[in-house]
């Protein structure tokens, strides 16, 4: 620490020293203009801050303000009067909202354990020694689903689960089962969007876990191998503590992501059939852009934001223990 300070002091001295000795042609001492002033950091930061303000902060504040107004853009003549918590009250008593939130929760607890487990298995396989080239190839392959746009994942899903020519039914037929109208039945549609989500996000879990596993110092793993031959004990007692920070980040990201999951489901099922895949984001979109009741939709979105924050804080509180 002190050595760093000292080194910085030396460096500072080095950079300042020439300034005092440089003379301009006219012989007047001056500080050479190196294009770096007190405002330079500001200019470097400005684009990011500005962008964040425009597409992050401003819409959030706008939604917050809107959530306290009657704001139906299909009926502009009624104006946008301030109505306090009326929107929130109607949202909280809206059974469809609760139902869609329930569907979202069901979706979350369906996909997340599978993604975490599969991801962990893949990570453990990739962590084993040997087969370097194949593993490198597998790691690259894992990025493909992550890099695919949600809407495109939805389109792929529609092709896979198409009743007449989808590959899912082809597989069923191969094993002697009848074709199934995946997207036409409530359970099938729910399964289809779950499978597509698992397809897209398992690799992410795998990569996060793989990073965690590679954080375990080799000698610590070896010390444990000398004390136990159980792979499970090794995972539980030695590797897991290194995976927890990653797992926390994963749970937080996936919670927020599932709560706002829209594009993929919208492309595949539009929330149907019936309300089988009517996730909360799909419902909010319907309220906002089919009924044009932006006030209520904003209130719903704000509630969702609060829910996300609460869940994230819980995960951090429960899981996050930094391994020293």
């Amino acid at each position: 620490m002190t050595r760093d300070v000292a080194r910085q002091a030396v460096m500072r001295k080095k950079t300042i020293m020439p300034e005092t000795t440089v003379k301009s042609p006219s012989g007047v001492n001056r500080v050479p203009n190196r294009g770096y002033g007190r405002w330079t950091p500001f200019w470097f930061l400005a684009p990011a801050v500005l962008t964040l303000l425009l597409i992050g902060i401003y819409p959030t504040i706008f939604a917050l303000v809107t959530s306290f107004r009657r704001y139906n853009i299909a009926r502009p003549r009624e104006g946008f009067p301030f109505i306090g918590f009326e929107n929130y009250a109607s949202v909280l008593t809206d059974s469809t909202f609760w139902a869609s939130l329930g569907t979202t929760a069901r979706f979350y607890i369906t996909v997340l354990p599978i993604e975490v487990m599969l991801g962990l298995c893949i990570a453990l396989l990739l962590h084993k020694t040997g087969m370097g080239f194949l593993k490198a190839l597998a790691r690259v392959t894992l990025v493909v689903p992550l890099a695919t746009t949600y809407a495109v994942v939805g389109l792929i899903g529609r092709l896979i689960f198409n009743r007449d020519f989808g590959v899912a039914n082809q597989v069923l037929n191969t094993f002697g089962f009848d074709s199934f109208d995946w997207l036409g039945s409530p359970a099938g549609a729910f399964a289809a969007i779950a499978i597509m989500d698992i397809w897209q996000w398992t690799p992410f879990c795998a990569l996060i876990f793989l990073a965690g596993l590679s954080m375990v110092p080799g000698e610590i793993e070896e010390a444990a191998r000398l004390e136990t031959s159980s792979k499970w004990a090794l995972l539980k007692h030695v590797q897991l503590p290194y995976l927890l920070p990653g797992l926390t980040a994963l749970l937080i990201l996936r919670s927020a992501d599932v709560l706002k999951l829209f594009d993929m489901v919208f492309v595949m099922t539009r929330g149907g059939p019936g309300s089988a895949t009517d996730l909360v984001s799909i419902y909010i979109q319907r309220v906002g852009f089919r009924i044009f009741d932006l006030g209520t939709a904003s209130a719903q979105a704000i509630l969702l934001l609060i829910l996300t924050i609460v869940i994230s804080r819980l995960y951090i509180r429960i899981l996050y223990k930094e391994v020293q």
């Binding site: 000698e219 000398l226 004390e227 159980s230 020293q324």
Partner: protein, 364 residues
């Protein structure tokens, strides 16, 4: 009784051969040290005994049982790593208890064993701490404690002292020696530090390039090194070597010439009859601590370059016939750079090697 047996052990990483056939055996309770320069394969060999590296060829047995392909945990060996390798999220107690919990020992026995080990190593006050709250020396003790509690068949040490400062290293070295004496356990210890090897070992295995150069007690290696490599590696400062020419062979003695010799020549008794002929090159080895100043019958005539006062003794760096020669002499002789020195040595302390570096005659 042979307790640890390595039989023509080989290790290949792909095409590269790292251990090229090592055989040796250790008795129960013996303290064996693997020593050699970096990359000689000593750590790899230790890790193969532990089971952390696969054996490419050869067999390995512990306590009469072939464990060549046995899993590490089933070999009943424990290892102290260079980085200590303590589990960072566990307390000292948990670190030491982990292995015992894995074999499902009753909790009261675990506690008894951990407390006993903690008492031996004087770390009872640290049991509740996490490794990051310990100093290097304390971590080392915990790592050793983790080995002790398991009561293993063999203790393995992989350069355990190299991360400690000099004073602590000496202290821990003594403690490991005491531990060996008190536990009577079989220990295999890897180091590149020949002082650790000399002080700790019952027997030393000197390795170079994946091959055994010599196996023997510290005294044997010091007094009768098999070749110039072992002679140079064991002993500090290292042995001086002078490449001399054989001027004449006369029964039991050789007449050697080198510009550093007093009068240009030296006659040594040697029973190498038939193996050496006039005109051959012979490497003459002399340990710095065996050389004496102001000898009545000087063997070497040297010119002083630099002297280093070490307090109790003085290290002299000299040149003789263009070759560097180091001396360690007691006290603080008052000498100046450029002084000519008449240096003597007891004839029994002269080591002779052939041109390939193999010992011709070991003194004593």
């Amino acid at each position: 009784m042979t307790f640890l047996q390595l039989n023509n052990i080989q290790k290949k990483f792909g095409e590269m051969s790292v251990i090229k056939g090592v055989s040796f055996s250790a008795q129960k309770g013996e303290f064996v040290v693997f020593v050699g320069p970096s990359g000689c394969g000593k750590s790899t060999l230790l890790r193969m005994i532990a089971g952390l590296e696969d054996v490419s060829d050869g067999t390995l047995s512990i306590d009469g049982k072939d464990v060549t392909y046995e899993e590490p945990a089933k070999r009943e060996v424990s290892m102290v790593f260079q980085s200590y390798a303590l589990y960072p999220h566990m307390s000292v107690f948990e670190n030491m208890a982990f292995g015992l919990r894995m074999i499902k020992l009753p909790e009261d026995q675990i506690k008894a064993r951990v407390l006993e080990a903690a008492r031996i190593l004087q770390i009872e006050a640290l049991l509740e701490r996490k490794p990051k709250a310990l100093s290097g020396g304390q971590r080392q003790r915990v790592a050793i404690g983790r080995s002790i509690v398991r009561n293993p068949k063999i203790f393995l040490f992989d350069e355990p002292l190299s991360n400690l400062d000099a004073e602590l290293r000496t202290q821990m070295r003594v403690e490991i020696a005491k531990l060996h004496r008190n536990l009577g356990a079989t220990m295999v210890y890897v180091t590149h530090d020949q002082v650790e090897a000399m002080t700790l070992a019952d027997r030393i295995v000197v390795l170079r390039g994946g091959l055994v150069e010599q196996i023997g007690t510290p005294t044997e290696l010091y007094d009768r090194p098999a070749n110039t490599f072992v002679a140079g590696f064991i002993g500090s400062p290292k042995m001086n070597f002078l490449a001399a020419t054989v001027d004449g062979v006369d029964g039991g003695s050789l007449k050697l010439s080198h510009p550093a010799f007093a009068g240009g020549s030296l006659t040594v008794a040697s029973d190498t009859a038939g193996r050496v002929k006039t005109g051959d090159t012979i490497i003459v080895g002399m340990r710095p601590e065996h050389l004496t100043l102001d000898a009545a019958n000087p063997v070497l005539t040297l010119a002083l370059d630099i002297s280093e006062n070490l307090g109790g003794s003085t290290q002299l760096y000299t040149t003789g016939g263009g070759e560097p020669v180091t001396l360690v002499v007691p006290g603080r002789p008052s000498l100046n750079s450029g002084d000519g020195l008449n240096v003597g040595i007891d004839a029994s302390h002269i080591y002779l090697f052939d041109a390939a570096g193999q010992a011709l005659r070991a003194s004593h």
